[in-house]
């Protein structure tokens, strides 16, 4: 009797265990199918609640945690779109505004948020005005944080080319704490705003003033791109001068180097020689290594995000 009951119990256990495993596997597979049918649904859903006040109240006072959740969603949203080289970032600004309304002291949301919002697609949302609004809200709530003034000036300088407002932001920041380099920035804006050296100084400052790996990598990429843009602009002038002198284009970059009595062919920051096509255009050997370069790119080339540490 006991043996019979035991075997019946064992059978039930085995069947239940098998059912459990099968149902668990089936539910995972079904969910994956559902995800394929409605991609990104989770991230889109968040905007059904677009009022920070409602979210703040619904959080029952735990708004700091909600801000962290919204910030993580904003990072995920931007990362996904950036990876897909998307041209639209419609939900990014509302996500960032929600985050900062929930926790106005979450500095990282202003600093990274502005660098997500301001650059033109596909490197960012192409919404420098929203980035400015975000930074101004940050400054209003954290008037003693000099980083925010610096980032505000940065957006004005890099994206809007509004040198007067950039100078004003740096000037305001220079009154907070003891950061004399903001004073220098303000002066530089006033005198040499559009120059390449000023841009180089800004990215160098961005590199040195942050310990964050991503911020530093971004600054390195921009510095590398500036060097390439400067080199290629100079080389292109040399090609034009050669043409004016000889009445023809150089056959190769080697002929140009020989004519100019250079010790060798000029190289990019990675040590790869620049090349020249049959129309006299100077090109990068590996344009995919310079995400933010605007010169030396083959026609129709789409830059991809690639980061270097140095």
């Amino acid at each position: 009797m006991n043996t019979q009951r035991l075997s019946s119990q064992t059978r039930t256990t085995l069947i239940a265990a098998a059912c459990l495993v099968l149902c668990a596997m089936a539910s995972v597979l079904t969910l994956r199918r559902v995800d394929q049918l409605r991609p990104r649904a989770t991230l889109e859903d968040v905007l059904y609640i677009s009022s920070p006040k409602v979210v703040k109240r619904a959080s029952l006072g735990y708004d700091g945690l909600m801000a962290c959740i919204y910030w993580t969603r904003a990072v995920q949203y931007f990362g996904q779109r950036f990876h897909d080289r998307s041209l639209s970032y419609n939900e990014l600004a509302p996500l960032l505004e929600m985050t900062t309304q929930l926790d106005p002291q979450l500095l990282v949301a202003y600093q990274f948020g502005a660098s997500f919002l301001a650059p033109r697609p596909p490197n960012g949302a192409g919404q420098p005005e929203r980035a400015i609004q975000l930074m101004e809200f940050g400054v209003q709530n954290n008037p003693q944080e000099w980083h925010l003034y610096y980032d505000l000036g940065f957006v004005y300088y890099m994206e809007l080319k509004d040198y007067a407002k950039a100078a004003d932001a740096f000037e305001r920041g220079s009154h907070v704490g003891s950061h004399p380099f903001l004073k220098i920035m303000a002066a530089q804006m006033a005198q040499h705003a559009g120059e390449l050296d000023t841009a180089r100084m800004m990215w160098n400052a961005a590199y040195q003033s942050s310990q964050d790996k991503l911020v530093r990598q971004n600054a390195v990429e921009h510095l590398r791109a500036l060097k390439v843009d400067e080199d290629i602009t100079n080389l292109q002038s040399t090609v034009t001068r050669f043409g004016q002198k000889t009445g023809r284009l150089p056959n190769s970059i080697y002929e140009l180097a020989t004519a100019e009595k250079w010790p060798g062919v000029p190289v990019d920051p990675d040590g790869n020689p620049y090349t020249m096509d049959h129309t006299g255009r100077i090109l990068l050997k590996h344009p995919e290594d310079f995400s933010f370069a605007t010169q030396g790119l083959p026609p129709g080339f789409t830059p991809v995000a690639k980061f270097h540490d140095q």
């Binding site: 109240r57 700091g64 910030w71 990274f112 964050d212």
Partner: protein
């Protein structure tokens, strides 16, 4: 008198432990360690903030759920099992029973919070690799959470002394939600006129102001609440819990247990 209260309190604590209440610590540990590992990979520069915010929010919510669900059964379960009659047939006064139960439940929550606090600091050490002096402010937030528990325990006991467990849970949880909006209620009272203003102001002061105890986000940013706030919150929690407990005693003293 004190010995009787201590006996009832220690029995309440033992009963909670026997009911596997402290098992929630496992869920808490999983939640915190999972988030500490995961957040660094999916977000930027908020690992410390998340550990503090999530850790303290979980301490608070787990504790409130425990306080409500154990608190509401403290009296009714004793009546249902008829053990209350055995207790009261001994030289134990009804008010001692209520006060003992309160301290037993509060003790359970303090022990629970202590272990959770170790978990929060452990997770913080894991993500930040070191603890700084500003992390000591987390202790203040934990202290405020414990004060919150005292009020919830007293309220749960108050409702438990005259109502069914289900209704007591609904009342206690509703008061927790309303209490979280207490400042909004006060703002609303400020905008109203005449009788509405008086009623709204009365309601705003009658419900417990839980938002005053929530300094989680403040300490997450390394800022310390003022000494005055600590003192006033302590007094407020003691007075409010004392008020609810006195109400529970008054009702229970007059309750017909036949």
């Amino acid at each position: 008198m004190t010995a009787r209260i201590v006996h009832i309190a220690s029995n309440t604590f033992r009963e909670a432990v026997r009911d596997r209440v402290l098992y929630n610590l496992i869920a808490f540990a999983l939640l915190l360690s999972g988030s500490a590992i995961l957040v660094g990979q999916i977000s930027i520069e908020i690992e410390r903030l998340v550990v503090i915010n999530l850790g303290l929010t979980a301490v608070s919510l787990f504790g409130i759920v425990i306080a409500i669900f154990i608190g509401i059964g403290l009296v009714s379960k004793e009546i249902e099992k008829r053990t209350l009659y055995t207790v009261l047939s001994r030289p134990v006064r009804r008010w001692e029973f209520i006060v003992g139960k309160f301290f037993g439940l509060a003790g359970t929550l303090v022990v629970n919070t202590f272990f959770m606090a170790i978990g929060v600091f452990g997770a913080l050490l894991y993500v930040a690799h070191k603890l700084t002096s500003s992390d000591a402010t987390i202790l203040i937030a934990l202290y405020f959470i414990v004060l919150e528990f005292l009020i919830i325990c007293a309220l749960a006991l108050l409702f438990s002394s005259f109502s069914t467990p289900l209704l007591s849970a609904v009342f206690a949880f509703s008061l927790f939600v309303i209490g979280s909006f207490a400042e909004d209620l006060r703002g609303f009272a400020g905008m109203a006129h005449g009788l509405t203003r008086w009623l709204a102001t009365g309601a705003a002061y009658a419900v417990p102001n839980f938002s005053a105890f929530n300094v989680i986000n403040l300490v997450a940013h390394g800022q310390a609440p003022s000494g005055q706030l600590i003192l006033q919150n302590t007094l407020y929690a003691l007075f409010y819990a004392g008020m609810a407990l006195s109400g529970a005693v008054l009702i229970f003293e007059r309750r017909n247990l036949k």
